[in-house]
Amino acid sequence: MSAPFVALEGLDKRFPGHHAVRGIDLQIAAGEFVAIMGPSGCGKSTTLRLIAGLDEPTGGDIRIGGRSMRGIPAFQRDTPMVWQSLALFPFLTVAENVAFPLRMKKVGAAERRRRALEWLDRMGLAGMADRDIAQLSGGQRQRVAIARALVTQPSILLLDEPLSALDAHLRVRMQTELSRLHKQLGITFVYVTHAQSEAFALADRIVIMSDGAIQQVGRPQDVYREPVNAFVAEFMGMNNILRGTVRGASAGRLALETPLGSFDVPTRKTHPVDSKAAFVIAADRIALAAAGTYGGLDATVIGLEFVGSTQTVFVETASGHEFRIQKQQHEIEALDLAPGRQISLSWEPRHAWLLPDFR
């Protein structure tokens, strides 16, 4: 990465009785779409608020375009934000809402109106300019909020769970819209969400946060396939973690003894024999076969969950270890899976991912 557009340097925020952000470092390139993910209370929204200047950091610094933001109040930062609640001004019309930032910059009334209408047109809201906010649908309000944030042509847009108040259908449409806007404008988007689907669909890079610290930064597929630790693996949801003891190691692979048996796991670094380690096998990498298949792991189906084009199969081994497996509908039917049925699990050793950071 060349000189980053946004740089968080040891950024730290303590609230009374709560350490929200623990000295994080992050660099975001100009024009990048970065999604910050994590469970609620992980510090992702606080990080966004710190970038916008809505909260004062208790340590570290934020640089935007090379300039330190220390002591620069929110209204001078030009870091517009789209709120989950949208925060539209109910006492202003649609066009006046969009023109608000221009009014703050003392742009003349005619020019303000012209630029607001231009943005409304661009967001598919032509003809809505003089309506009240209360007269718009949820999706239309969302567009007004985005237009209002972009009307001053900022070089960064902050989004705090902007789509979580929308219904599923609208959410997918707005995702497409945001993606299109990002490509057209070429500006930096920092997007906070707890929804994996949104982050994966939109972001160039994903930042996973937990307990005020960054756990992993990477492309969606990297974070998904190669989680650095058990937290990220579990947060991604469709991963099965097996913990064990290293019993033998050779070039590029090691043997891990787990309560379910010994498994061959590829590795990029050497692990001392007898040390603890864990690996992840993704839910969609597990093959199912009839019970008793040679080399397979026997288990009992305990539940099936319909998730659209795929189903999640929950199985349990005799020792009580649970696995989740993702399968296409036709595979489920071919195996005639139902709760109580015995099956055999297996995976290719190369699909096992050794967690690099395991304690």
Partner: protein, 307 residues
């Protein structure tokens, strides 16, 4: 009534009783039953007397006795009398002044309570504002007399440092003190709730979009609580306009306000019809003020009528 008929019943007459299937269990009837006591209460204690008041304005007084009639004489006499018109002008001026003062003083006070105090102090302040609303108004006015009278607290202190007794009681100043005693706590309460109801993210959004702290009040807070301001102002006006206690005790009825005129008219010659004319006129003005308040609270929408 439509839509509730079963298929095939379309050609049967759909009247109030025949077409609909409103039974005691249906939501519409249930709501009506629940609303009935309130409706009766309103008819008996509000609409009834009001109608009677209007009817009386057309009656006559013959040898100190009311007698039913239908003459416009009372309206003519009252509305053309200089005494009434002068009192009307005076009352409007006094109530208008109170409205402006109450709103102007209450706004910064309410802002401070809603945004600058800790939650605990805020509750304390609100409790302090609620208590006077429920305490005796006359008692509070007597207290002011003690403070303001020529032998009162203020003049007592002024006398100690050699200042001549000030004519604090008996003028526009003391009248406004009395009326503000009545209106200010309520105006502050209404505006405090108005400010407290403003979504805090609106303030952050404004700052985020380039609004400096000092301009947030003008650009976000005041527009956001516009209905509360209109309500506080109309309430202050209504209270001050119809008040009898402060004009009587703080100025000794000189010059008289309309409520004093009502009492005087009844006392002198049992002129119930003319007093009713004054009363009904006052009610009409109040209705007009309420309507104005409604318009003001929603002015944005009217101004840009076009949809």
């Amino acid at each position: 009534m439509t839509g509730s008929s079963p298929p095939g019943a379309a050609d049967s007459p759909r009247g109030f009783l025949t077409g609909s299937r409103s039974t005691a269990g249906s939501p519409a009837v249930f709501a009506m039953l629940l609303g009935l006591p309130v409706l009766l209460w309103q008819i008996i204690f509000f609409a009834g007397p009001l109608v009677f008041l209007v009817v009386i304005t057309f009656w006559q007084v013959k040898s100190f006795r009311l007698s039913p009639a239908f003459v416009a004489d009372n309206w003519e006499k009252v509305l053309t009398s200089t005494a009434f018109l002068r009192a009307l002008g005076h009352t409007l001026t006094v109530a208008g002044t109170t409205t402006v003062l109450a709103t102007a003083i209450a706004l910064p006070a309410a802002y401070t309570i809603a945004f600058r105090l800790s939650p605990r102090l805020r509750d304390f302040a609100v409790a302090f504002l609620v208590v006077p609303v429920f305490s005796s108004y006359i008692l509070r006015i007597y207290a002011w007399q003690v403070v303001l009278s020529p032998q009162g607290v203020i003049n007592g202190i002024a006398g100690l440092i050699g200042v001549e007794p000030l004519p604090l009681l008996g003028g526009a100043f003391s009248l406004q003190i009395g009326l503000l005693t009545l209106t200010l706590p309520i105006a502050v309460l209404i505006l405090t709730f108005g400010f407290a109801g403003v979504d805090r993210t609106l303030i952050e959004a404004a700052e985020n979009l380039g609004c400096r702290r000092g301009r947030v009040v003008a650009h976000v807070l005041l527009p956001a609580i516009r209905p509360a301001i209109a309500l506080a102002a109309t309430t202050s006006f209504l209270l001050a306009f119809g008040d009898y206690v402060s004009p009587l005790f703080m100025t000794g009825s000189k010059p008289p306000t309309l409520s004093i005129v009502v009492v005087d008219t009844v006392k002198s010659g049992s002129q119930w019809p003319r007093a009713s004319v004054v009363g009904v006129s006052m009610l009409l003005i109040l209705v007009a003020v309420l309507a104005l308040g409604q318009v003001l609270s929603r002015r944005t929408r009217l101004r840009r009528g076009g949809r």
